[in-house]
Amino acid sequence: MINEILNSITFIYPELAVSIFLLIIVLVDLVFHKDKKYIPYISLAGLVITGILVLNQIGITHFAFVPQLSAVKKYGMMTIDPFGSYFKLLVVVTSILIIFFTIASEEVIDLKERLGEFHALIYGMILGMLVMISASDLILIYLSLELLSLSSYVLAGFLKLRERSSEASLKYVIYGSVSSGLMLFGISIIYGLTGSTNLYVINSLIQGPQINLFTLSFSSILMFVGIGYKISAAPFHFWTPDVYEGAPISITAYLSVASKAAGFALLIRFIQTGFTSFISEDGYWTLIAVFDWQALLIAISILTMTLGNFSALWQDNLKRMLAYSSIAHAGYILLGIAVLSNQGLIAVLIYFFVYMLMNIGAFYVVMLISNKTGSENIDDYDGLGAKAPFLGVALAIFLISLTGLPPTAGFIAKLYLFIALIDANMIVVAIIALLNTVVSLYYYVRVLKHMYLTKSEREQENITPSIGSLVYLLVLLIPILFFGIYFTPIVEFARSCVSLLGI
């Protein structure tokens, strides 16, 4: 038993590195309470080390923390596989980008005294996400989900003197804890039905004839409530616009990319290891005939993207508009899972990489402008194209990419998604998604109209971004344009990371 645990530790080095740096940040925060300006660099160093450890893991497939009882079929509490490593890498890269984001954000600079807590909580979120991505046991899934949620509740309300921020964190904590409570009840029913909390054991047990289908469907839906809240899928999305608007912009960007990515990784692993009986030669998954996940996912994703896109049409606050747009994007990504094939999974992986670049970029420009003007209202963007030419062009490219128009990488992401849908003969769904994209064009272009065609009524003050911001934006812009033209590398990388361990 001890040997097994010691052996398993070699597979969780990234998680260990994050835990150690979490402690270091807390200690540094306590010891050097006068001078906090080094803390962002410590957390950057920690993330770079974690990133290297994750890179070392790519290609490894292994079970960690295997119980001794599992003599017949091997399974463990955690699963290390290329799919998980891809998402871990995505989370770490997003976190590095967000740390740079906070260095430039006035809201966070104003925190001064509380900077240490801020970074410690971000590390709590990262640890939760990394564990969640590779968890294959319901206990671990619930614990990591809660670790992620608890840290993000506090971060959403971190500007505690601001009314909007406090309200955002109240809404987040109430919606979040209720949905994770429902998820826990679902877990308890699954445990009662199968006698195990491990997804691999559950998979083999629910194939038996004695399973009560009604109870299993009920508990599956309860499980989906918890995951659906994390990825802000439609009936559980009510918190998203409020929290995204009220939270500090850096945290909004982080929630919209990283915690959503972890939620999707969890959903994919849950469906694939828990409910798939076998994967055919051409990569299509056959579900165990106990619960029709495909119908549920298609219905939810259509609802999610339609609601997200149509609500975004009349938003005047840019943060709120990007919140609805991120709900719509969650709908598109859910379609990639609903295909239930490896091809759909490749599309999801590509989509997430591109979504990370363009969404963080859009939020970064919004943050730079709100640093200057103190508001995110669309009227403050009037005449921005003339006042700040570079920021205007950058935001235009990010928004065009979010719409999914060539020659940006957003087009490639959508293209692969639609190809996967059409190959699986889901033509009607593909057409609905396409129509949704057309709707989304309206609200993205509305921002461009305000930037370039509307004259500002107020004093013209030029906004010149600092050198650091220019470099940051270029780091995001160049891949978006480059991968829009030459996209073989990400497609190949996603293809090599598609395999999950098990079944």
Binding site: I139, Y153, R164, E167, A168, I174, G181, F185, S188, D316
Partner: protein
């Protein structure tokens, strides 16, 4: 004397769960909503322990219940801190009166 079996526990837990959901949906005061949440978590706890005992599933259920108790405490602490901070800004904690973010 009736023998207390698995079904009795499950009935109690489903009643607790329903009361919890009812409390979350109907109560206006944020603190009462959080109490409803505790009921949901404890309903799940009763399920875990009852299933572990009567299903002979080993100690997994009990271990899970312990984790849930700890998490419930952490969650309550954070939620109450947020509610307290909210009270300082809004001087009330009614969920439906705090709506600065809606337009």
């Amino acid at each position: 004397m009736i023998e207390v079996g698995l079904n009795h526990y499950l009935v109690v837990s489903s009643i607790l769960f329903s009361l919890g959901v009812y409390g979350v949906v109907t109560r206006k005061n944020a603190v009462m909503v959080l109490m409803g949440l505790e009921l949901i978590l404890n309903a799940a706890n009763i399920n875990f322990i009852a299933f572990a005992k009567y299903g002979n599933f080993g100690l997994g259920g009990q271990a899970m219940a312990l984790f849930v108790i700890i998490l419930a405490a952490a969650e309550a602490a954070i939620a109450l801190a947020i509610v307290l901070n909210l009270y300082k800004t809004f001087s009330n904690v009614n969920v439906d009166e705090i709506d600065k973010l809606k337009e």
